[in-house]
Amino acid sequence: MTRILTEHFDTEPELHEIDVYRRLGGYAGLSKALGMSRAEVVAEVVKSNLRGLGGAGFPTGGKWQTVPGEDKVPGPRYVVANADESEPGCFKDRVLITRAPHQLLEGVLIAAHAIGAKETFIFIRGEYQNQYDVLARAIAQADAAGFTAHASIALMRGAGAYISGLDTALLETMEGKKAWPRQPPPFPTVSGLMGRPTVVNNVETLSMLPSIMVKGGEWFAKIGSPKNGGTVVFSVSGHVEQPGIYEVPMGSKLRDVLTLAGGVRGGRKLKCVIPGGTSMPPLLEKDLDIALDFDAIRAAGTFLGAGGMIVLDETADAVEVAHNIERFLAHESCGQCTPCREGSFWSEEILERMLEGKGEGEDVRNLARIGENITGKVICALGDTVGMVTRAYISKFPEDFNKRVATDGS
């Protein structure tokens, strides 16, 4: 299977060194981009069908096109690389940064040229200390090699909030404020960091740009499925024989990724697969032939997310899983809007009571009702998730839930 970002991972242990990266053709994409006009670079990315791999799946070229030109909005504009990888189950950015930091830097510098940014930032999760060090060293190397002449790269660290991974909350954090998501419009490409036009792209998305520049948007688009160009890197964890990151073309089957990861551990039966990170509704055994791209998986009622694939075998209990996820979401709810702040904690408490064997007759129906009252009625995607997760497990595994109120309830 075609690999783009992880092509040299098995063979080049020193890929994080600029010399190794350059020997393998690194920074050729940047010099090619710098020889093109901004519009040409954007057009190439539009052609590539590259989608936002941080989870939203928004076409990257389309996003860039909404940045107002300097004739309309003169003055600074920024590129921000979102390296605040916090979704439980997602660790691909961590590996991409550790193994191939220059691939990211090159992508950032290409994006900067594309929108005319003279300053760029990499906002990295606070817990990623090692990755921070790797990036700091790589930036120094890129500076010394003269690659940052047209745009500087600065590193900024998060302080431990999951919500800071959401673009507008990330921008608030960068401005020194509480990480409360903004409510577009205006979108960050129009008014982002410090009110300036800002492109926020995920690490994986940006890392795709060097190859797109070198080999062309058409080549990239052909690798994937319709409207979903290139590859996607899954972080596979949970009940599989070989957890790890696996890069596959967009549109690959869920079954193929599972096979790459060695299948369900110990020959057990599959209970479900969370495709994109804990916040996404799970898929079942019968869904294994679903194509993994943004649109096909959406049609199956869940999301590709950031590719944080968690595999659960038959020993998993859906109430425990739902409780685990709601507990996380309640802990990480930013608290800005009421339904998410109160609903996540309420759901967690009900699930906790059910786990303690104190489930009551109305609990399941009430949990579903609470979820319904949150999703679609909140400011950001975290809140939507809060209301979605429990309902998804209730609808897919009603027996696990009913058991908790029927036999243990008073």
Partner: protein, 497 residues
């Protein structure tokens, strides 16, 4: 905002400026959409999610405080889906709310109670224990904070961040652990701190001086104007006369700002709001002659006696007044003292005792409501040092003092200065420290016991209404002046000469 466009609200064809917030356009059409976080003067963070409405074509309910009117748009705020969205947002607000309404001062004017009755009325599904936070934080000299009742709408933090720019309050922690707290090392003691109580839609921020005093539904509300400075903030006087044994027996329970876009917006200052502590204390209630001994008199007898003494003082009569008089008072003052008695010397300058701090928000340095009213009638004030010299020299035979405390001007010298004049009159609501040094005491109404008009520093004439019955025999200043004028006019000519 753009030109007026047509849109539909609950099936009604309406017009509004393009770009106006749907919640505002609805309000102007008489439809109140429930909301907590939105406040016209504090912005629309859209965090309470109470104002959700259905917008045709939108896949999910929209926050009407974040949605602008567009031509042809169809909005439903009363459809089943919209009502369900609003009710569910309310339910989530109440999950951890302590429901301690029986001991909450906000009860009766609480956004949670009001919306529960209007759009809620569901059976609670909460089986879990409520979260506990701090319930008794003295946030500052005037405001109590109860974190459990707080719904985190951020109105108060936006007020201290954007209006006073003093930043005493913030939201600390995250998610369900979030709470309003004082910023480290600060207390809520800015000049406008009381406004956070008004804007708090629940009982999280309450007035310390109103705490547990009286239920709000026993209070009567009267439109008035704050007499505390020359801004003339529009206020509502909340009076307690139905439960006289409540509120420590005080008739004025509290003052609240009344919205007036042109004068005070939604706010009033703490000086004006909390300066009412003793409105009923130290009052003059009787018409008295104090010399040679204290004698109660009827208004008519007093008027007759006083008319004679004032007239006989001739050019030796001086009048002290203040900007506390209404336009009506000033007109009667002029008819009596200028036109009839030909008094040449008037002393109503705010210096030195009626000046204080001002700022760029509302507070003015001159701490009386209506100097402009006097100036509009052509009255000019002499200085109080000039008055002192005149009293010392014995040129003043009669001194008439209206709503002014000479002790605050002359200090310990005041009694001896008063003794230099043959006749001295104190007219006003309060006795003050010098009350016993006057020859006559005439009880006048406080501003809450009369109606009238103040002209503010910008020349705006504003009406204030009568909230309470006068204490004792108190009469409005203009009525006393008119009575004296009538007494003068009916005096026999022979005596005049």
């Amino acid at each position: 905002m753009g030109h007026r466009v047509k849109f539909k609200l609950n099936g009604r064809e309406l017009e509004a400026p393009e770009g106006q917030l749907v919640i505002d356009a609805a309000k102007e059409a008489g439809v109140e959409i429930p909301h907590y976080c939105y406040h016209p003067a504090l912005g629309n963070p859209g965090n309470c999610r109470m104002c959700l409405v259905e917008v045709a074509g939108a896949p999910k309910p929209q926050a009407s405080c974040r949605t602008s009117v567009r031509p042809g748009m169809e909005v439903k705020s009363d459809s089943d889906a919209a009502k369900r969205a609003q009710a569910s947002a309310l339910e989530l607000h109440l999950v951890n709310h302590p429901l301690d309404c029986p001991v909450c001062d906000q009860a009766g004017e609480c956004g949670l109670q009001d919306y529960y009755m209007k759009i809620g009325r569901y059976q609670s599904q909460v089986r879990e224990d409520k979260q506990h936070k701090e319930k008794r934080i003295a946030a500052g000299p005037h405001v109590m904070l109860d974190q459990e009742r707080c719904i985190l709408c951020t109105r108060c933090t936006r007020f201290v961040d954007n209006v006073t720019q003093t930043h005493e309050l913030g939201i600390f922690q995250r998610g369900h652990a979030e709470r309003i707290e004082l910023a480290p090392g600060m207390i809520l003691d800015n000049a406008y701190s009381g406004n956070v109580v008004d804007i708090c839609p629940v009982g999280a921020l309450t007035d310390r001086d109103f705490r547990y005093k009286v239920r709000v539904w026993y209070l009567d509300h009267t439109d008035s104007v704050c007499p505390g400075c020359e801004r003339g903030c529009n206020i509502s006087v909340h009076t307690n006369t139905q439960r006289t044994w409540h509120n420590d027996g005080k008739r004025v329970a509290r003052l609240k700002p009344r919205h007036n876009h042109e004068v005070n917006g939604y706010w009033m200052c703490d000086e004006g709001r909390y300066g009412i502590a003793d409105l009923d204390a130290d009052r003059l209630g009787k018409v008295l002659s104090l010399k040679p001994q204290k004698t109660e008199m009827s208004w008519e007898a007093m008027a007759s006696e006083l008319a004679g003494r004032l007239q006989s003082a001739g050019p030796g009569l001086a009048v002290v007044a203040s900007g506390m008089l209404s336009n009506e008072d000033w007109a009667a003052y002029k008819a009596l003292f200028v036109d009839a008695l030909k008094v040449g010397k008037h002393f109503f300058s705010p210096e030195p005792d009626q000046v204080g701090e001002g700022d760029s928000l509302l507070r003015r340095k001159i701490k009386t409501a209506n100097l402009r009213g006097a100036e509009a009638l052509g009255l000019r004030s002499g200085s109080f040092s000039e008055l002192e010299t005149m009293l010392e020299s014995g040129r003043i035979k009669a001194l008439y003092v209206i709503e002014r405390d000479l002790y605050r001007i002359y200090g310990d010298k005041a009694p001896s200065l008063l003794s230099k004049a043959e006749a001295t009159v104190l007219q006003g609501p309060n006795k003050g420290p010098l009350g016993d040094h006057y020859t006559y005491r005439l009880p006048a109404t406080a501003y809450v016991e009369e109606e009238g008009h103040f002209t503010n520093f910008e020349g705006k004439v504003q009406a204030y209404r009568k909230a309470l019955e006068p204490i004792g025999e108190s009469r409005p200043d203009w009525a006393i002046f008119t009575l004296l004028l009538k007494a003068l006019e009916t005096r026999p000519k022979a005596v005049l000469a």
